[in-house]
Subunit: 203 residues, 3 copies
Protein backbone atom coordinates (compact mmCIF):
# COMPACT_ATOMS: atom_id res chain seq x y z
CA UNK A 1 0.00 0.00 0.00
CA UNK A 2 2.73 2.44 1.03
CA UNK A 3 4.61 1.61 -2.18
CA UNK A 4 1.46 2.05 -4.25
CA UNK A 5 0.88 5.47 -2.74
CA UNK A 6 4.45 6.53 -3.42
CA UNK A 7 4.22 5.38 -7.03
CA UNK A 8 0.96 7.25 -7.54
CA UNK A 9 2.40 10.32 -5.83
CA UNK A 10 5.41 10.27 -8.16
CA UNK A 11 3.09 9.84 -11.16
CA UNK A 12 1.17 12.94 -10.08
CA UNK A 13 4.44 14.82 -9.67
CA UNK A 14 5.51 13.77 -13.17
CA UNK A 15 2.28 14.96 -14.80
CA UNK A 16 2.24 18.28 -12.96
CA UNK A 17 5.95 18.85 -13.65
CA UNK A 18 5.43 18.19 -17.37
CA UNK A 19 2.55 20.66 -17.50
CA UNK A 20 4.78 23.20 -15.73
CA UNK A 21 7.56 22.65 -18.25
CA UNK A 22 5.14 23.08 -21.16
CA UNK A 23 3.99 26.43 -19.73
CA UNK A 24 7.61 27.47 -19.21
CA UNK A 25 8.52 26.60 -22.80
CA UNK A 26 5.62 28.69 -24.03
CA UNK A 27 7.12 31.68 -22.19
CA UNK A 28 10.54 30.92 -23.69
CA UNK A 29 12.40 30.27 -20.43
CA UNK A 30 15.85 28.71 -20.65
CA UNK A 31 16.68 25.17 -19.54
CA UNK A 32 17.24 26.14 -15.91
CA UNK A 33 13.97 28.07 -15.87
CA UNK A 34 12.10 25.11 -17.33
CA UNK A 35 13.48 22.74 -14.68
CA UNK A 36 12.70 25.17 -11.86
CA UNK A 37 9.10 25.54 -13.02
CA UNK A 38 8.86 21.75 -13.41
CA UNK A 39 9.94 21.16 -9.83
CA UNK A 40 7.73 23.95 -8.49
CA UNK A 41 4.66 22.82 -10.43
CA UNK A 42 5.13 19.24 -9.28
CA UNK A 43 5.98 19.86 -5.65
CA UNK A 44 5.05 23.31 -4.37
CA UNK A 45 1.66 22.35 -2.96
CA UNK A 46 3.14 19.53 -0.91
CA UNK A 47 6.10 21.67 0.14
CA UNK A 48 3.90 24.40 1.60
CA UNK A 49 1.65 21.83 3.27
CA UNK A 50 4.65 20.19 4.94
CA UNK A 51 6.09 23.51 6.12
CA UNK A 52 2.71 24.55 7.56
CA UNK A 53 2.16 21.32 9.48
CA UNK A 54 5.77 21.23 10.68
CA UNK A 55 6.90 18.21 8.63
CA UNK A 56 10.37 19.57 7.81
CA UNK A 57 12.36 18.90 5.80
CA UNK A 58 9.40 18.36 3.43
CA UNK A 59 9.21 15.07 1.56
CA UNK A 60 9.99 16.84 -1.73
CA UNK A 61 13.30 17.97 -0.21
CA UNK A 62 14.32 14.96 1.86
CA UNK A 63 13.43 12.32 -0.76
CA UNK A 64 15.51 12.74 -3.94
CA UNK A 65 12.98 10.85 -6.08
CA UNK A 66 10.63 13.84 -6.27
CA UNK A 67 13.42 15.97 -7.71
CA UNK A 68 14.50 13.18 -10.09
CA UNK A 69 10.99 12.66 -11.43
CA UNK A 70 10.44 16.42 -11.78
CA UNK A 71 13.67 16.88 -13.72
CA UNK A 72 12.94 13.88 -15.93
CA UNK A 73 9.53 15.32 -16.78
CA UNK A 74 11.03 18.76 -17.37
CA UNK A 75 13.85 17.48 -19.60
CA UNK A 76 11.51 15.32 -21.64
CA UNK A 77 9.12 18.19 -22.19
CA UNK A 78 12.02 20.52 -23.00
CA UNK A 79 13.39 18.16 -25.66
CA UNK A 80 10.08 17.12 -27.16
CA UNK A 81 8.47 20.51 -26.94
CA UNK A 82 6.31 20.40 -30.05
CA UNK A 83 5.18 16.85 -29.34
CA UNK A 84 4.35 17.40 -25.69
CA UNK A 85 1.99 20.25 -26.46
CA UNK A 86 -0.14 17.86 -28.47
CA UNK A 87 0.03 15.11 -25.89
CA UNK A 88 -0.89 17.36 -22.97
CA UNK A 89 -4.32 17.90 -24.42
CA UNK A 90 -4.80 14.16 -24.25
CA UNK A 91 -3.48 13.94 -20.72
CA UNK A 92 -6.03 16.18 -19.08
CA UNK A 93 -7.09 12.78 -17.87
CA UNK A 94 -3.71 12.32 -16.18
CA UNK A 95 -3.91 15.80 -14.72
CA UNK A 96 -7.28 14.84 -13.22
CA UNK A 97 -5.67 11.74 -11.74
CA UNK A 98 -2.79 13.74 -10.27
CA UNK A 99 -5.24 16.25 -8.84
CA UNK A 100 -7.34 13.53 -7.19
CA UNK A 101 -4.32 11.76 -5.78
CA UNK A 102 -2.64 14.87 -4.37
CA UNK A 103 -5.89 15.97 -2.73
CA UNK A 104 -6.28 12.60 -1.03
CA UNK A 105 -2.67 12.07 0.04
CA UNK A 106 -2.37 15.70 1.15
CA UNK A 107 -5.45 15.45 3.35
CA UNK A 108 -4.32 12.17 4.88
CA UNK A 109 -0.91 13.61 5.70
CA UNK A 110 -2.48 16.68 7.33
CA UNK A 111 -4.81 14.46 9.38
CA UNK A 112 -1.87 12.34 10.49
CA UNK A 113 -0.31 15.53 11.91
CA UNK A 114 -3.44 16.07 14.00
CA UNK A 115 -4.84 19.04 12.15
CA UNK A 116 -8.55 19.63 12.65
CA UNK A 117 -10.67 18.09 9.86
CA UNK A 118 -11.63 21.40 8.25
CA UNK A 119 -8.06 22.62 7.85
CA UNK A 120 -6.90 19.15 6.79
CA UNK A 121 -9.31 19.36 3.85
CA UNK A 122 -8.05 22.84 3.03
CA UNK A 123 -4.44 21.67 3.09
CA UNK A 124 -5.33 18.67 0.94
CA UNK A 125 -6.82 21.03 -1.62
CA UNK A 126 -3.74 23.23 -1.37
CA UNK A 127 -1.56 20.19 -2.05
CA UNK A 128 -3.49 19.56 -5.25
CA UNK A 129 -3.63 23.11 -6.60
CA UNK A 130 -0.60 24.82 -5.02
CA UNK A 131 1.87 23.68 -7.68
CA UNK A 132 -0.15 25.13 -10.52
CA UNK A 133 -0.61 28.41 -8.66
CA UNK A 134 3.11 28.76 -8.01
CA UNK A 135 3.86 27.89 -11.65
CA UNK A 136 1.64 30.76 -12.81
CA UNK A 137 3.06 33.20 -10.25
CA UNK A 138 6.65 32.46 -11.36
CA UNK A 139 5.49 33.29 -14.88
CA UNK A 140 4.09 36.62 -13.56
CA UNK A 141 0.47 35.68 -14.31
CA UNK A 142 -2.62 35.64 -12.15
CA UNK A 143 -3.06 31.90 -11.39
CA UNK A 144 -5.66 30.54 -13.83
CA UNK A 145 -7.21 28.49 -11.04
CA UNK A 146 -8.29 31.75 -9.39
CA UNK A 147 -10.08 32.89 -12.53
CA UNK A 148 -11.40 30.00 -14.54
CA UNK A 149 -10.13 26.45 -13.94
CA UNK A 150 -12.62 24.18 -12.21
CA UNK A 151 -9.92 22.16 -10.45
CA UNK A 152 -10.14 23.27 -6.83
CA UNK A 153 -13.70 22.03 -6.35
CA UNK A 154 -13.01 18.38 -7.32
CA UNK A 155 -9.92 18.45 -5.10
CA UNK A 156 -11.95 19.82 -2.20
CA UNK A 157 -14.65 17.18 -2.72
CA UNK A 158 -12.03 14.45 -2.55
CA UNK A 159 -10.48 16.01 0.55
CA UNK A 160 -13.85 16.21 2.30
CA UNK A 161 -14.55 12.54 1.51
CA UNK A 162 -11.24 11.64 3.16
CA UNK A 163 -12.16 13.65 6.25
CA UNK A 164 -15.66 12.14 6.46
CA UNK A 165 -14.29 8.65 5.82
CA UNK A 166 -11.99 8.96 8.79
CA UNK A 167 -14.97 8.81 11.17
CA UNK A 168 -16.22 5.57 9.60
CA UNK A 169 -14.79 2.15 10.30
CA UNK A 170 -13.33 1.78 6.82
CA UNK A 171 -9.56 1.29 6.66
CA UNK A 172 -7.70 4.40 5.39
CA UNK A 173 -6.69 2.84 2.08
CA UNK A 174 -10.31 2.08 1.17
CA UNK A 175 -11.30 5.63 2.05
CA UNK A 176 -8.42 6.89 -0.08
CA UNK A 177 -9.55 4.92 -3.11
CA UNK A 178 -13.17 6.01 -2.80
CA UNK A 179 -12.18 9.65 -2.31
CA UNK A 180 -9.75 9.63 -5.23
CA UNK A 181 -12.29 8.04 -7.55
CA UNK A 182 -14.92 10.61 -6.59
CA UNK A 183 -12.54 13.57 -7.02
CA UNK A 184 -11.36 12.16 -10.35
CA UNK A 185 -14.93 11.65 -11.48
CA UNK A 186 -16.04 15.15 -10.57
CA UNK A 187 -13.06 16.60 -12.42
CA UNK A 188 -13.68 14.54 -15.56
CA UNK A 189 -17.38 15.40 -15.61
CA UNK A 190 -16.50 19.08 -15.05
CA UNK A 191 -14.17 19.06 -18.07
CA UNK A 192 -16.80 17.31 -20.16
CA UNK A 193 -19.63 19.60 -19.14
CA UNK A 194 -17.57 22.77 -19.11
CA UNK A 195 -18.47 23.60 -15.50
CA UNK A 196 -17.22 26.82 -13.98
CA UNK A 197 -17.66 28.80 -10.80
CA UNK A 198 -19.66 32.03 -10.68
CA UNK A 199 -18.05 35.48 -10.86
CA UNK A 200 -19.21 38.49 -8.88
CA UNK A 201 -21.64 40.76 -10.63
CA UNK A 202 -20.05 43.88 -12.06
CA UNK A 203 -20.65 47.30 -10.53
CA UNK B 1 -7.96 39.87 27.89
CA UNK B 2 -7.10 36.80 25.80
CA UNK B 3 -10.66 36.74 24.50
CA UNK B 4 -10.57 40.45 23.71
CA UNK B 5 -7.37 39.98 21.72
CA UNK B 6 -8.84 37.08 19.77
CA UNK B 7 -11.97 39.06 18.95
CA UNK B 8 -9.92 42.03 17.77
CA UNK B 9 -7.65 39.71 15.78
CA UNK B 10 -10.65 38.16 14.03
CA UNK B 11 -12.06 41.63 13.33
CA UNK B 12 -8.79 42.59 11.66
CA UNK B 13 -8.88 39.37 9.65
CA UNK B 14 -12.44 40.15 8.55
CA UNK B 15 -11.60 43.66 7.35
CA UNK B 16 -8.45 42.58 5.50
CA UNK B 17 -10.23 39.59 3.95
CA UNK B 18 -13.05 41.83 2.72
CA UNK B 19 -10.57 44.24 1.14
CA UNK B 20 -8.88 41.27 -0.53
CA UNK B 21 -12.20 40.03 -1.89
CA UNK B 22 -13.02 43.48 -3.26
CA UNK B 23 -9.67 43.57 -5.12
CA UNK B 24 -10.31 40.04 -6.43
CA UNK B 25 -13.77 41.00 -7.70
CA UNK B 26 -12.27 43.97 -9.51
CA UNK B 27 -9.98 41.56 -11.38
CA UNK B 28 -12.94 39.29 -12.17
CA UNK B 29 -11.74 36.19 -10.32
CA UNK B 30 -14.22 33.37 -9.81
CA UNK B 31 -15.71 32.40 -6.45
CA UNK B 32 -12.79 30.13 -5.51
CA UNK B 33 -10.31 32.84 -6.46
CA UNK B 34 -12.16 35.41 -4.37
CA UNK B 35 -12.14 33.14 -1.31
CA UNK B 36 -8.45 32.31 -1.74
CA UNK B 37 -7.53 35.99 -1.94
CA UNK B 38 -9.75 36.68 1.07
CA UNK B 39 -7.95 34.12 3.18
CA UNK B 40 -4.53 35.20 1.97
CA UNK B 41 -5.21 38.92 2.52
CA UNK B 42 -6.52 38.24 6.02
CA UNK B 43 -3.94 35.73 7.18
CA UNK B 44 -0.75 35.69 5.13
CA UNK B 45 1.22 38.09 7.32
CA UNK B 46 0.54 36.04 10.44
CA UNK B 47 1.17 32.79 8.59
CA UNK B 48 4.65 33.83 7.48
CA UNK B 49 5.45 35.21 10.93
CA UNK B 50 4.46 31.92 12.56
CA UNK B 51 6.49 29.84 10.10
CA UNK B 52 9.54 32.06 10.62
CA UNK B 53 9.42 31.91 14.41
CA UNK B 54 8.69 28.18 14.40
CA UNK B 55 5.10 28.38 15.65
CA UNK B 56 3.73 25.61 13.42
CA UNK B 57 1.06 24.84 12.56
CA UNK B 58 0.34 28.60 12.38
CA UNK B 59 -2.71 29.90 14.24
CA UNK B 60 -4.48 30.60 10.93
CA UNK B 61 -4.18 26.89 10.10
CA UNK B 62 -4.76 25.25 13.47
CA UNK B 63 -7.68 27.48 14.52
CA UNK B 64 -10.65 27.11 12.14
CA UNK B 65 -12.14 30.48 13.12
CA UNK B 66 -9.63 32.41 10.99
CA UNK B 67 -10.73 30.46 7.93
CA UNK B 68 -14.41 30.83 8.82
CA UNK B 69 -14.14 34.61 9.28
CA UNK B 70 -12.15 34.96 6.06
CA UNK B 71 -14.68 32.98 4.05
CA UNK B 72 -17.58 34.89 5.59
CA UNK B 73 -15.94 38.18 4.61
CA UNK B 74 -15.17 36.86 1.13
CA UNK B 75 -18.67 35.53 0.51
CA UNK B 76 -20.31 38.72 1.75
CA UNK B 77 -18.11 40.84 -0.49
CA UNK B 78 -18.69 38.48 -3.40
CA UNK B 79 -22.48 38.70 -3.05
CA UNK B 80 -22.68 42.40 -2.28
CA UNK B 81 -20.00 43.46 -4.71
CA UNK B 82 -21.40 46.82 -5.76
CA UNK B 83 -22.31 47.77 -2.21
CA UNK B 84 -19.02 46.75 -0.66
CA UNK B 85 -17.00 48.98 -2.97
CA UNK B 86 -18.85 51.98 -1.54
CA UNK B 87 -18.54 50.81 2.02
CA UNK B 88 -14.82 50.07 1.81
CA UNK B 89 -14.13 53.74 1.30
CA UNK B 90 -15.80 54.34 4.64
CA UNK B 91 -13.93 51.54 6.33
CA UNK B 92 -10.45 52.87 5.80
CA UNK B 93 -10.95 53.50 9.46
CA UNK B 94 -11.44 49.76 10.05
CA UNK B 95 -8.43 49.00 7.91
CA UNK B 96 -6.41 51.35 10.12
CA UNK B 97 -7.70 49.48 13.17
CA UNK B 98 -6.79 46.09 11.67
CA UNK B 99 -3.36 47.39 10.78
CA UNK B 100 -2.72 48.67 14.30
CA UNK B 101 -3.96 45.50 15.91
CA UNK B 102 -1.99 43.11 13.70
CA UNK B 103 1.19 45.13 14.25
CA UNK B 104 0.77 44.95 18.02
CA UNK B 105 -0.31 41.31 18.29
CA UNK B 106 2.32 40.24 15.76
CA UNK B 107 5.11 41.94 17.69
CA UNK B 108 3.95 40.49 21.00
CA UNK B 109 3.86 36.98 19.55
CA UNK B 110 7.36 37.36 18.11
CA UNK B 111 8.66 38.64 21.46
CA UNK B 112 7.05 35.69 23.23
CA UNK B 113 9.12 33.40 20.98
CA UNK B 114 12.27 35.15 22.21
CA UNK B 115 13.15 37.00 19.04
CA UNK B 116 15.42 39.98 19.52
CA UNK B 117 13.50 43.28 19.81
CA UNK B 118 14.55 44.62 16.40
CA UNK B 119 13.38 41.57 14.49
CA UNK B 120 10.23 41.31 16.63
CA UNK B 121 9.26 44.79 15.44
CA UNK B 122 10.02 43.80 11.84
CA UNK B 123 7.86 40.68 12.15
CA UNK B 124 5.09 42.71 13.76
CA UNK B 125 5.13 45.04 10.77
CA UNK B 126 5.18 42.03 8.44
CA UNK B 127 2.11 40.66 10.21
CA UNK B 128 0.29 43.91 9.50
CA UNK B 129 1.28 44.39 5.85
CA UNK B 130 2.04 40.86 4.63
CA UNK B 131 -1.55 40.00 3.76
CA UNK B 132 -1.94 43.00 1.50
CA UNK B 133 1.37 42.29 -0.21
CA UNK B 134 0.42 38.67 -0.91
CA UNK B 135 -2.99 39.78 -2.19
CA UNK B 136 -1.33 42.04 -4.75
CA UNK B 137 1.23 39.40 -5.77
CA UNK B 138 -1.51 36.82 -6.42
CA UNK B 139 -3.10 39.42 -8.69
CA UNK B 140 0.25 39.78 -10.52
CA UNK B 141 0.75 43.38 -9.40
CA UNK B 142 3.63 45.10 -7.66
CA UNK B 143 2.34 45.44 -4.06
CA UNK B 144 0.97 48.96 -3.65
CA UNK B 145 2.53 49.20 -0.22
CA UNK B 146 5.95 49.11 -1.89
CA UNK B 147 5.06 52.05 -4.11
CA UNK B 148 2.62 54.38 -2.44
CA UNK B 149 0.58 53.26 0.58
CA UNK B 150 1.66 54.83 3.85
CA UNK B 151 0.69 51.79 5.90
CA UNK B 152 4.00 50.21 6.89
CA UNK B 153 5.21 53.21 8.86
CA UNK B 154 2.24 53.35 11.27
CA UNK B 155 2.56 49.60 11.75
CA UNK B 156 6.27 49.92 12.48
CA UNK B 157 5.63 52.74 14.94
CA UNK B 158 3.15 50.56 16.81
CA UNK B 159 5.56 47.63 16.79
CA UNK B 160 8.38 49.78 18.17
CA UNK B 161 6.14 51.04 20.97
CA UNK B 162 5.41 47.42 21.93
CA UNK B 163 9.12 46.64 22.00
CA UNK B 164 9.97 49.74 24.06
CA UNK B 165 7.04 49.10 26.37
CA UNK B 166 8.36 45.66 27.20
CA UNK B 167 11.28 47.17 29.09
CA UNK B 168 8.94 49.27 31.25
CA UNK B 169 6.99 47.98 34.22
CA UNK B 170 3.65 48.35 32.45
CA UNK B 171 1.62 45.14 32.05
CA UNK B 172 1.59 43.84 28.44
CA UNK B 173 -2.08 44.62 27.84
CA UNK B 174 -1.57 48.29 28.73
CA UNK B 175 1.41 48.47 26.40
CA UNK B 176 -0.70 46.83 23.69
CA UNK B 177 -3.46 49.40 24.03
CA UNK B 178 -1.09 52.37 23.98
CA UNK B 179 0.80 50.96 20.98
CA UNK B 180 -2.35 50.20 19.03
CA UNK B 181 -3.80 53.64 19.69
CA UNK B 182 -0.58 55.31 18.54
CA UNK B 183 -0.33 53.17 15.37
CA UNK B 184 -3.99 53.80 14.63
CA UNK B 185 -3.56 57.52 15.18
CA UNK B 186 -0.53 57.79 12.93
CA UNK B 187 -2.37 55.93 10.18
CA UNK B 188 -5.48 58.09 10.43
CA UNK B 189 -3.45 61.29 10.40
CA UNK B 190 -1.47 59.98 7.43
CA UNK B 191 -4.67 59.35 5.46
CA UNK B 192 -5.99 62.76 6.39
CA UNK B 193 -2.78 64.61 5.54
CA UNK B 194 -1.93 62.53 2.49
CA UNK B 195 1.49 61.57 3.81
CA UNK B 196 3.79 59.50 1.64
CA UNK B 197 7.36 58.25 1.68
CA UNK B 198 10.05 59.70 -0.58
CA UNK B 199 11.09 58.08 -3.86
CA UNK B 200 14.65 57.94 -5.15
CA UNK B 201 15.65 60.73 -7.49
CA UNK B 202 15.59 59.71 -11.14
CA UNK B 203 18.80 59.25 -13.11
CA UNK C 1 37.13 30.80 10.20
CA UNK C 2 33.61 31.24 11.57
CA UNK C 3 34.18 34.98 11.65
CA UNK C 4 35.55 34.99 8.13
CA UNK C 5 32.48 33.14 6.88
CA UNK C 6 30.14 35.58 8.62
CA UNK C 7 31.97 38.56 7.15
CA UNK C 8 31.83 37.05 3.65
CA UNK C 9 28.16 36.18 4.14
CA UNK C 10 27.36 39.76 5.14
CA UNK C 11 29.34 41.04 2.14
CA UNK C 12 27.21 38.86 -0.15
CA UNK C 13 24.07 40.13 1.55
CA UNK C 14 25.22 43.71 1.03
CA UNK C 15 25.89 43.25 -2.70
CA UNK C 16 22.62 41.43 -3.35
CA UNK C 17 20.65 43.97 -1.28
CA UNK C 18 22.18 46.84 -3.25
CA UNK C 19 21.26 45.20 -6.54
CA UNK C 20 17.73 44.73 -5.22
CA UNK C 21 17.51 48.39 -4.24
CA UNK C 22 18.73 49.48 -7.68
CA UNK C 23 16.00 47.40 -9.34
CA UNK C 24 13.42 48.83 -6.93
CA UNK C 25 14.50 52.39 -7.71
CA UNK C 26 14.15 51.69 -11.42
CA UNK C 27 10.51 50.73 -10.79
CA UNK C 28 9.99 53.88 -8.72
CA UNK C 29 9.13 52.21 -5.40
CA UNK C 30 9.06 54.39 -2.30
CA UNK C 31 11.61 54.20 0.52
CA UNK C 32 9.81 51.38 2.32
CA UNK C 33 9.50 49.43 -0.91
CA UNK C 34 13.20 49.87 -1.63
CA UNK C 35 14.19 48.61 1.81
CA UNK C 36 11.83 45.62 1.58
CA UNK C 37 13.27 44.62 -1.79
CA UNK C 38 16.78 45.12 -0.41
CA UNK C 39 16.15 42.75 2.47
CA UNK C 40 14.38 40.21 0.28
CA UNK C 41 17.07 40.26 -2.42
CA UNK C 42 19.80 39.85 0.18
CA UNK C 43 18.19 37.22 2.37
CA UNK C 44 15.30 35.36 0.74
CA UNK C 45 17.33 32.42 -0.55
CA UNK C 46 18.78 31.72 2.88
CA UNK C 47 15.41 32.29 4.55
CA UNK C 48 13.68 29.66 2.44
CA UNK C 49 16.57 27.24 2.89
CA UNK C 50 16.40 27.61 6.65
CA UNK C 51 12.62 27.14 6.75
CA UNK C 52 12.87 24.03 4.56
CA UNK C 53 15.59 22.37 6.66
CA UNK C 54 13.87 23.32 9.90
CA UNK C 55 16.43 25.89 11.08
CA UNK C 56 13.93 28.34 12.53
CA UNK C 57 14.04 31.16 13.25
CA UNK C 58 16.24 31.58 10.16
CA UNK C 59 19.59 33.30 10.61
CA UNK C 60 18.34 36.34 8.68
CA UNK C 61 15.62 36.75 11.31
CA UNK C 62 17.44 35.82 14.50
CA UNK C 63 20.66 37.75 13.75
CA UNK C 64 20.01 41.48 13.43
CA UNK C 65 23.18 42.08 11.39
CA UNK C 66 21.60 40.71 8.21
CA UNK C 67 18.81 43.26 8.48
CA UNK C 68 21.25 46.05 9.35
CA UNK C 69 23.50 45.31 6.38
CA UNK C 70 20.49 45.03 4.05
CA UNK C 71 19.07 48.36 5.18
CA UNK C 72 22.47 50.04 4.92
CA UNK C 73 22.83 48.79 1.34
CA UNK C 74 19.26 49.83 0.53
CA UNK C 75 19.62 53.33 2.02
CA UNK C 76 22.92 53.94 0.30
CA UNK C 77 21.51 52.88 -3.05
CA UNK C 78 18.39 54.95 -2.45
CA UNK C 79 20.39 58.09 -1.71
CA UNK C 80 23.03 57.63 -4.39
CA UNK C 81 20.68 56.30 -7.03
CA UNK C 82 22.31 57.73 -10.11
CA UNK C 83 25.79 56.81 -8.92
CA UNK C 84 24.95 53.28 -7.88
CA UNK C 85 23.60 52.39 -11.31
CA UNK C 86 27.02 53.12 -12.77
CA UNK C 87 28.88 51.30 -10.03
CA UNK C 88 26.74 48.16 -10.23
CA UNK C 89 28.03 47.48 -13.71
CA UNK C 90 31.51 47.39 -12.20
CA UNK C 91 30.43 45.18 -9.37
CA UNK C 92 29.27 42.24 -11.42
CA UNK C 93 32.48 40.92 -9.97
CA UNK C 94 31.09 41.37 -6.45
CA UNK C 95 27.83 39.77 -7.50
CA UNK C 96 29.82 36.78 -8.72
CA UNK C 97 31.58 36.66 -5.35
CA UNK C 98 28.27 36.81 -3.46
CA UNK C 99 26.85 34.11 -5.67
CA UNK C 100 29.81 31.79 -5.07
CA UNK C 101 29.80 32.39 -1.36
CA UNK C 102 26.05 31.87 -0.87
CA UNK C 103 26.17 28.65 -2.90
CA UNK C 104 28.98 27.28 -0.73
CA UNK C 105 27.67 28.39 2.66
CA UNK C 106 24.13 27.33 1.74
CA UNK C 107 25.24 23.84 0.77
CA UNK C 108 27.34 23.43 3.90
CA UNK C 109 24.44 24.48 6.10
CA UNK C 110 22.09 22.02 4.36
CA UNK C 111 24.66 19.21 4.77
CA UNK C 112 25.03 20.04 8.45
CA UNK C 113 21.27 19.45 8.80
CA UNK C 114 21.74 15.96 7.36
CA UNK C 115 20.08 16.51 4.01
CA UNK C 116 21.07 14.05 1.33
CA UNK C 117 23.89 15.36 -0.90
CA UNK C 118 21.70 15.92 -3.97
CA UNK C 119 19.17 18.09 -2.17
CA UNK C 120 21.93 19.88 -0.24
CA UNK C 121 23.37 21.02 -3.58
CA UNK C 122 19.92 22.11 -4.73
CA UNK C 123 19.38 24.11 -1.53
CA UNK C 124 22.83 25.66 -1.88
CA UNK C 125 21.91 26.82 -5.37
CA UNK C 126 18.59 28.10 -4.04
CA UNK C 127 20.45 30.09 -1.38
CA UNK C 128 22.46 31.77 -4.12
CA UNK C 129 19.67 32.56 -6.57
CA UNK C 130 16.55 32.73 -4.38
CA UNK C 131 17.00 36.38 -3.41
CA UNK C 132 17.15 37.55 -7.01
CA UNK C 133 14.11 35.47 -7.92
CA UNK C 134 12.05 36.92 -5.06
CA UNK C 135 13.20 40.44 -5.97
CA UNK C 136 11.85 39.99 -9.51
CA UNK C 137 8.60 38.43 -8.32
CA UNK C 138 7.93 41.34 -5.95
CA UNK C 139 8.37 43.60 -8.98
CA UNK C 140 5.79 41.47 -10.86
CA UNK C 141 8.33 40.22 -13.41
CA UNK C 142 9.29 36.74 -14.54
CA UNK C 143 12.62 36.18 -12.72
CA UNK C 144 15.42 36.92 -15.20
CA UNK C 145 17.35 33.91 -13.93
CA UNK C 146 14.63 31.68 -15.39
CA UNK C 147 14.99 33.26 -18.81
CA UNK C 148 18.52 34.45 -19.44
CA UNK C 149 20.96 34.91 -16.56
CA UNK C 150 23.71 32.31 -16.42
CA UNK C 151 23.97 32.45 -12.63
CA UNK C 152 22.39 29.21 -11.46
CA UNK C 153 24.92 26.98 -13.20
CA UNK C 154 28.02 28.46 -11.51
CA UNK C 155 26.20 28.27 -8.17
CA UNK C 156 25.30 24.63 -8.79
CA UNK C 157 28.88 23.82 -9.77
CA UNK C 158 30.13 25.31 -6.52
CA UNK C 159 27.49 23.42 -4.54
CA UNK C 160 28.42 20.12 -6.18
CA UNK C 161 32.09 20.69 -5.37
CA UNK C 162 31.14 21.18 -1.71
CA UNK C 163 29.17 17.93 -1.75
CA UNK C 164 31.96 15.98 -3.47
CA UNK C 165 34.56 17.53 -1.18
CA UNK C 166 32.73 16.25 1.86
CA UNK C 167 33.66 12.67 0.99
CA UNK C 168 37.37 13.56 0.80
CA UNK C 169 39.65 14.01 3.78
CA UNK C 170 40.01 17.75 3.23
CA UNK C 171 38.84 19.96 6.11
CA UNK C 172 35.57 21.78 5.36
CA UNK C 173 37.14 25.22 5.12
CA UNK C 174 39.56 24.08 2.40
CA UNK C 175 36.68 22.52 0.48
CA UNK C 176 34.75 25.77 0.88
CA UNK C 177 37.57 27.86 -0.56
CA UNK C 178 38.11 25.55 -3.53
CA UNK C 179 34.38 25.39 -4.26
CA UNK C 180 33.91 29.16 -3.99
CA UNK C 181 36.88 29.84 -6.26
CA UNK C 182 35.55 27.41 -8.88
CA UNK C 183 32.01 28.84 -8.76
CA UNK C 184 33.39 32.36 -8.94
CA UNK C 185 35.63 31.43 -11.87
CA UNK C 186 32.82 29.79 -13.83
CA UNK C 187 30.62 32.83 -13.31
CA UNK C 188 33.32 35.29 -14.39
CA UNK C 189 34.16 33.25 -17.50
CA UNK C 190 30.45 32.99 -18.30
CA UNK C 191 30.06 36.79 -18.15
CA UNK C 192 33.15 37.26 -20.28
CA UNK C 193 32.15 34.67 -22.89
CA UNK C 194 28.46 35.52 -22.85
CA UNK C 195 27.41 31.96 -22.05
CA UNK C 196 23.74 31.11 -21.87
CA UNK C 197 21.56 28.04 -21.50
CA UNK C 198 19.55 26.59 -24.39
CA UNK C 199 15.85 27.34 -24.92
CA UNK C 200 13.31 24.82 -26.16
CA UNK C 201 12.69 24.81 -29.88
CA UNK C 202 9.52 26.64 -30.91
CA UNK C 203 6.47 24.78 -32.15
Amino acid sequence: MQTLLLVLDLCGTFVFAASGAAAANKRDLDLFGVLVISFVAGNFGGLVRDVLIGAVPPAAISDWRYLAVSIAAGLLTFLLNSVVGEILNFVLIFDAAGLALFAVSGTQKALSFNLNPLMAAVLGTLTAVGGGMARDLLLAQVPTILKADFRATPALVGAVVVVLGQSTELPPWQVAIVAAVIAFGVRVIAIHQGWSLPHARKH
